[in-house]
């Protein structure tokens, strides 16, 4: 996976497969985020190669690919979580609403781009305090209990927890904890919500609830999700990006990618020949 071993391949695949998406949807989609020529390194190891793509406003975009293809890394760069990792370095540009995300203050930037992780990670606090956390640390002026209720409703959790908001978050089931984490992220009203395999630690029923939730949430914010479950990508997303060994192989509207993939590697992956 070293940069030197790559050039032959990356020449063959022009990074702007993105144009396929643009062709399919001529009705000028507005782009919430734009990633251009992103190269990412952990120390001397390159994990993303020249990735360019757009994230459409109020749509669900899925990143799929086999383990180690760089999809989680790509997602984490979108809210600059990689900066906490020693030896992580990137080249290229990411814009949010036309502004370079790397020149902004990192803490206020992350309030605009929320993130939900693979395993539910509620704080060791009450249900209420978990959701209120983002508001409290940001010194929000809105009444906190109203905002907490609103977020829990958006995360379809309110009815299940409204009578015991002050119980420990760890008393909830795994699926409820994950919806709590979504509520926590929604409380600060982010423009973009990133989800890193949000259902991989959950049972099928909880997974179905979260999928349904994500589809509803796109009216509220722009959603980017990483998944290694192709059916899930097909069910919930408007756009799908297929990554392989750090390269963006194909990026198009979801029905297009799953029915008429342009690249033979995409076809091999979605028909289950590897990964």
């Amino acid at each position: 996976m070293h940069a030197s071993a790559r050039p032959a391949v990356s020449v063959k695949i022009p990074p702007i497969v993105t144009s396929a998406a643009a062709r399919e949807t001529p009705t000028a989609l507005s782009m919430r985020m734009t990633i251009s020529r992103l190269n990412f390194f952990y120390g001397s190891k390159q994990v993303l190669f020249d990735v360019s793509m757009g994230i459409a406003t109020n749509k669900v975009t899925s990143l799929i690919g086999p383990s180690g293809c760089g999809k989680s890394t790509l997602l984490r760069t979108l809210n600059r979580m990689h900066e906490a990792v020693r030896g992580a370095r990137l080249e290229g540009e990411i814009l949010l609403d036309g502004q370079n995300i790397f020149t902004q203050d990192v803490t206020s930037y992350r309030r605009r781009v929320g993130m939900v992780f693979q395993r539910p990670n509620p704080f060791p606090k009450s249900i209420f305090e978990n959701v209120a956390y983002g508001l409290r640390i940001n010194g929000s002026k809105v009444p906190i209990s109203d905002a907490v209720e609103k977020s829990l409703r958006h995360a379809a959790l309110w009815d299940e927890v409204k009578d015991h908001l002050h119980k420990s978050a760890y008393e909830l089931s795994g699926g409820q904890q994950q919806r709590l984490c979504i509520a926590r992220a929604l409380a600060v009203e982010p423009e973009v919500l990133l989800l890193d395999e949000p259902c991989s630690a959950l049972d099928p029923i909880s997974t179905a609830k979260i999928e349904e939730l994500l589809v509803q949430l796109k009216d509220l914010c722009t959603i980017v999700t990483v998944t290694h479950n192709m059916q899930q990508a097909a069910r919930i997303s408007d756009f799908t990006a297929f990554l392989l060994t750090g390269q963006l192989i194909e990026f198009s509207p979801t029905p297009h990618l799953f029915t008429t993939p342009a690249d033979p590697r995409t076809e091999a992956y979605i028909t289950g020949r590897f990964g």
């Binding site: 992350r110 990670n121 606090k125 640390i137």
Partner: protein, 283 residues
């Protein structure tokens, strides 16, 4: 049963019995000490022990009220000095430093932990007693506080490191700065462990005698303020136990019982704190 199998069974049974006996000996040493102390101390302890000053030589009766208060003052100074340094040092170690710095600090703390307590006493004597030209509560508290630093530092660091990475990421992703994350998430998640560590460090130094011998020295009367020599339970035990009076020996047993009781209570409280409340699951 072949002779070989019989031999194996014998070895297995023998080893099992040996390990059991050793475990029993380990536990019974504690109970033997406890029982011995309760037997000797229990008969000598009285209300006077907690309320009266030591009786003049030759008179019987009297108590160690000044030593109990002296120990409390010494431990207060020690905690005020040792705990914050250990605690904030641990935050630096666990959250900010990396590589060489962390290694050096950690190694130094382990070495400090291994320094004989009498050496800590000499150090405090040279640094605090000599310049002020008299023994004092402050000097004794300083010596005990020095001993609390490495214990608090190392165990607090362990508890901070045990906070799952996922919690830090959750806070960061919500726009919390590093300091906010530490104050609002990491320390609250680890506080029970930290409190336990502090209590154990406290219990550890509560019984130290050597660092007090030439810092707090000793006093047969009340020690007002912080700048005079003060009595303390461990030093009183030392003085009374080697004295040639039976009455003093009984007083020493009583002091031993009180000290051990205090340390046991602290230990039990520490374990109780550690076992209740919202525990953070390990991921």
């Amino acid at each position: 049963m072949t002779p070989r199998l019989r031999w194996r069974k014998f070895v297995s049974g023998f080893m099992l019995a040996m390990t059991g006996v050793c475990a029993l000996v380990a536990v019974s040493v504690l109970f033997f000490i406890l029982g011995y102390l309760v037997y000797h101390g229990g008969t000598s302890i009285s209300w006077n022990f907690f309320t009266k000053l030591p009786a003049p030589v030759g008179e019987s009766g009297g108590g160690m009220a000044n030593a109990i208060l002296g120990s409390a003052k010494l431990l207060l100074i020690a905690s005020l000095f040792g705990v914050p340094i250990g605690f904030f040092g641990a935050i630096y170690l666990a959250e900010f430093s990396g590589g060489t710095t962390a290694f050096v600090v950690r190694y130094a703390a382990d070495l400090l932990n291994g320094v004989p307590s009498i050496v800590i006493g000499i150090f405090a004597y040279g640094l605090v007693v000599l310049p002020f030209k008299h023994f004092s509560t402050l000097a004794g508290g300083f010596a005990l506080g020095l001993m609390m630093i490495p214990i608090t530092l190392r165990s607090t660091e362990e508890f901070l490191r045990a906070v799952p990475r996922a919690l830090r990421e959750a806070a960061m992703a919500l726009g919390a700065s590093k300091w906010k994350t530490i104050v609002t998430v990491i320390v609250p998640a680890a506080y029970r462990g930290i409190l336990t560590a502090v209590l154990l460090a406290f219990a550890r130094v509560a019984g130290e005698t050597a660092p007090l011998l030439f810092t707090a020295f000793g006093n047969r009367f009340w020690s007002p303020g912080w700048q005079q020599p003060t009595a303390s339970l461990p030093v009183m035990i030392f003085t009374y136990a080697v004295a040639p009076y039976d009455d003093w020996h009984r007083q020493a047993w009583a002091a031993g019982l009180v000290l051990l009781g205090l340390i046991l209570v602290i230990n039990i409280v520490a374990r109780a704190i550690l076992s209740r409340g919202i525990a953070v699951p390990r991921s």
